[in-house]
């Protein structure tokens, strides 16, 4: 086969998927029974269904970890990539075909530990990606070590005498780095989570949803009862997501009340929205390859 160009395909009007089940993947998740990630997967399948997306319009990208197995469990284009690298892969995908809806998923170790640099810079770029972090405050796949969001003094296999390092705050980090949609959900409140996800996908820019997604096997500190007793929706206390200061204050709270909901939202040009190369024509992947005769001539002339 030697096709020189990718022909631009007539874009059909999206037919709505028949049900959220259309997004069910080829295999059943291998997560532990009771894992918080089930709730996240269900909420995501429901959110993209309710948004009227079809599987082939969606690209779900993950790194490595329990939660990063998610792309295998959702019927969509997927990339299950390297540990900590979901966001660069997702960014490359979005820039190569900005017509795709790109969602990155993963865990707290993947996103806030090994991949933290990419997290900061993706927020700064405001690339139009929804980033869902299943935050269980532990490394599960490696059988229970502290993560960047583990609490001080927490005892794990790698900190048998207690954690000496303070946790990172994903929400304030995202806000400071320039994310334009910053939310927190709880996998035990799937309806609420679905709405946050729909808002994030619709939002044009970098959207973070940090999700309390309890690890029922390796984290006995932050289990369902812990969150159920503390989680409170921001909507119920009256919060204005355009209020940056209030967003930061609410995000800093970590005690008897843990807020969920949309903390912060603002409008700022996204990278794909402001990149001149993408302003006209289809996604880059659908454009003809190589140089035109005129471009070749001009390049040569500049070398003379």
């Amino acid at each position: 086969m030697s096709q020189a160009t990718l022909e631009a395909k007539t874009v059909e009007l999206p037919r709505k998927a028949a049900s959220a089940k259309d997004f069910k993947g080829r295999v059943e998740p291998d997560w532990c029974p009771g894992c918080g990630d089930f709730g996240v997967l269900n909420a995501l399948q429901r959110a993209v269904f309710e948004l009227g997306l079809q599987p082939h319009q969606l690209m779900v990208v993950s790194g490595i970890g329990c939660s990063s197995n998610l792309p295998g469990y959702i019927n969509a284009n997927g990339m299950h990539t390297l540990h900590g690298r979901s966001l660069p892969f997702a960014t490359g995908a979005k820039l190569a075909n900005h017509e795709l809806t790109v969602i990155a998923t993963g865990g707290d170790g993947d996103g806030y530990g090994i991949g933290c640099g990419h997290f900061m810079h993706s927020a700064r770029r405001n690339i139009d990606i929804t980033y869902i972090v299943m935050d269980n405050q532990i490394y599960g796949l490696t059988t229970g070590q502290i993560s960047p969001t583990s609490r001080l003094d927490m005892k794990t296999k790698s900190t048998p005498m207690g954690n000496l390092e303070s946790p990172l705050n994903p929400l304030t980090s995202a806000i400071m780095a320039g994310a334009t949609y910053v939310a927190r959900g709880f996998s035990g409140d799937p309806k609420h989570l679905t709405e946050l996800m729909k808002g994030a996908v619709k939002h044009k820019g970098f959207a973070l949803i940090d999700v309390f997604s309890p690890c029922v096997t390796f984290n006995n500190d932050n289990d369902y009862p812990f969150f159920k007793a503390r989680v409170k929706r921001l909507e119920d206390v009256g919060h204005d997501p355009s209020d940056w200061k209030s967003a930061c204050e609410r995000a800093m709270e970590w005690g008897d009340t843990l807020y969920t909901g949309l903390f912060f939202k603002t409008e700022r040009p996204s990278l794909d929205g402001s990149e001149p190369v993408l302003q006209k024509g289809p996604g880059l992947a659908r454009r003809p390859l190589g140089l035109t005769a005129e471009q070749a001539k001009s390049l040569k002339a500049r070398m003379m």
């Binding site: 086969m1 030697s2 471009q295």
Partner: protein, 592 residues
């Protein structure tokens, strides 16, 4: 009949003294005249100070190396005079600012050309005006019409306004007149060559080759000596519809490149060894996910931060071993800038067909060198072959992205087509993309996929052209090198003939696939195999032996950061022939 032109001009000074500008003006003058050009800039990792020596060698036919002789040296500071005057031979000219620089004791026949800069430039406040003055003096010495220089100055300085142009023109004129009245010019005026030639740096060649290959996504983190590719892309990409991104680190660069390539564009990234070290996990990811993409490593002297502005061929093992695991990748080391340009579309076709990563090994010598090139030899429309890419698929309901075919090549559908969704995973997976790494590992499927990936590579690799022995069939010495040593070995072989030594040449460009049969046959009758390479441990010689069982008789190895010159190789071969030297290490004549 006069001898063919072989003129080398060197400009020495400190960083910040504006050496690049007169270098570019000279390059333009020569190339427009149809003269061939090879330039090498010995410099340091410093923005101000240090010592730089730009060598510009000109000829009427292709120039193969920067050579090892200086005919005209412009000393912009005392340091240059002190370092290099001793290397000048009979007939050479040394130009210097006689207000500031004390000339040393030259060898017999060397012309000292004093330039009283203050007197000739008047009250100019322009700190680099002596460069313009020197250009005028040079034109006088090589007997080129002043108008030739005048036109280039007008063109290159035009955007700075008429006053700047006028000042430079009058100063250049003063230099020209000063040379004509005070110095003995070169015996032969600078000849004209054929049609005008183009000028490019090796990094330009790589970038333009990428653009011609249809690259639509380029990402990089700045790193010498690869940044030139980023600069070319940043300058030209937008107009050509190429997405150019500077990313937070090389890990991000590599993974973003693969993400873009997976989604359907031709994508590449360039760096040097340190950055490539950060990219290596991603190289394996591209192999496992079967994503075609190109990684460019412009080698510099290592290990670690090493010597950022010096050249070496020290990353061969790094390329061969890039990323954990056992997998196939193309590795190619272009022989020169034009070859690098032509290699880009070739490599993209190969990686697209085999759906795997490709690594291009350049080095500082090729990438940062400036060369002339015949514009008619630049085919900007080389064939683009995307391999088994299903362009407009109709849903079949059961797409197996990693189908185990006879050739091993699984037809690829780009993300975005209804009925063709799948997950590309860095975990081992089955034909449909489902993981076989966690819950249900499967030795049979694992073996199937390992063999499938190996087979597709073999299928495609067969089409890569094998190297050919160049030069005499029977020779006392067979010189073997890879990549950028091609030109300098070729020139050294011509010079060895003057010493009554017959040598031939096996230049290796493709590291993987390595043409074991062709190389074994080519070397079967070699009397004495000498491997020439720019590193200490003999990485290429070791690789040659590991693949073919052929052990070189002797080695010429240079690892001081400076490239080989023809003299180094000639002396090495003569030494090896007379002394039975096993490893000859040339001495760099001067510290640059």
């Amino acid at each position: 009949m006069s001898r063919p032109l072989d003129l080398t001009i060197a400009i020495g000074g400190a960083a910040g003294q504006g050496i690049a500008t007169p270098g570019n003006v000279l390059a333009r003058i020569f190339a427009r005249r149809g003269l061939h050009l090879y330039s090498y800039n010995a410099h340091q990792s410093i923005i101000r100070g240090g010592h730089i020596l730009l060598m510009l060698r000109v000829g009427q036919t292709e120039v193969l190396s920067h050579g090892d002789r200086i005919d005209m040296l412009l000393c912009l500071n005392q340091d240059t005079m002190d370092r290099h005057l001793g290397l000048l031979g009979d007939g050479a000219r040394a130009l210097y600012n006689s207000d500031d620089i004390q000339p040393g004791e030259p060898a017999a026949g060397v012309h000292l050309c004093a330039m009283p800069v203050k007197q000739l430039t008047g009250d100019s406040k322009n700190k680099v005006i002596q460069n313009t003055l020197s250009l005028g003096v040079m034109m006088g010495l090589i007997r080129v019409d002043f108008d030739v220089l005048g036109k280039v100055l007008e063109q290159s300085l035009g955007k700075k306004g008429p006053e700047v142009v006028q000042e430079n023109l009058s100063v250049a004129r003063a230099g020209y007149d000063h040379a004509v009245s005070n110095f003995e010019p070169f015996p032969e005026p600078l000849p004209s060559g054929g049609k005008p030639l183009a000028v490019w740096a090796g990094n330009d060649a790589i970038a333009i080759g990428g653009a011609a290959a249809g690259v639509k996504f380029y990402a990089a983190y700045p790193m010498s000596p690869a940044s030139g590719v980023l600069h070319w892309m940043a300058q030209n990409g937008r107009g050509l519809g190429i997405m150019v991104r500077q990313v937070e680190d090389e890990i991000g660069v590599a993974n973003m490149t693969i993400g873009a390539a997976h989604t359907g564009v031709r994508a590449m990234c360039a760096t040097s060894g340190g950055g490539f070290a950060l990219m290596t996990e991603a190289v394996g990811a591209a192999a496992m996910m079967e994503v075609p993409c190109v990684f460019i490593n412009v080698m510099r002297a290592g290990p670690s931060t090493g010597v950022p502005t010096k050249t070496e061929q020290g990353d061969l093992r790094q390329a061969l071993g890039a990323s954990q695991g056992d997998f196939e990748r193309f590795i190619v080391a272009p022989l020169n800038a034009l070859d690098a340009f032509n290699t880009m579309p070739e490599l993209f076709n190969l990686v697209d067909r085999a759906q795997c990563p490709g690594i291009l090994l350049s080095d500082l010598l090729i990438s940062e060198g400036t060369f002339s090139v015949d514009p008619d030899r630049l085919n900007m429309h080389l064939e683009i072959d995307r391999g088994a890419l299903i362009q407009d698929p109709s849903p079949n309901g059961d797409y197996h992205r990693y189908a185990d075919t006879e050739s091993g090549i699984s037809p690829r559908v780009l993300p975005g087509h209804e009925g063709f969704v799948y997950t590309a995973a860095t975990d081992e997976h089955d034909e449909s993309g489902v993981l076989i790494s966690d819950e249900f590992t499967n030795p049979f499927k694992r073996r199937q996929m390992v063999e499938k990936r190996a087979r597709k590579f073999e299928t495609v690799a067969q089409d890569v052209p094998a190297p050919k022995l160049e030069g005499a069939k029977k020779a006392e010495v067979t010189l073997v090198g890879f990549g950028s040593t091609y030109g300098v070995i070729k020139e050294a072989i011509a010079r060895l003939a003057e010493h009554d030594v017959t040598a031939n040449h096996l230049a290796i460009k493709w590291i993987v696939p390595f043409h074991v049969d062709a190389i074994t046959a080519a070397l079967a009758k070699a009397k004495k195999i000498v491997v020439v390479e720019n590193n200490y441990t003999g990485q290429f010689a070791e690789y040659l032996r590991s693949q073919t069982g052929i052990a070189a008789h002797s080695h010429i190895r240079k690892y001081d950061g400076e490239p080989l010159t023809p003299r180094h190789i000639v002396h090495g071969v003569l030494d090896i022939l007379s002394q039975e030297t096993t490893v000859y290490v040339p001495t760099q004549e001067i510290s640059v």
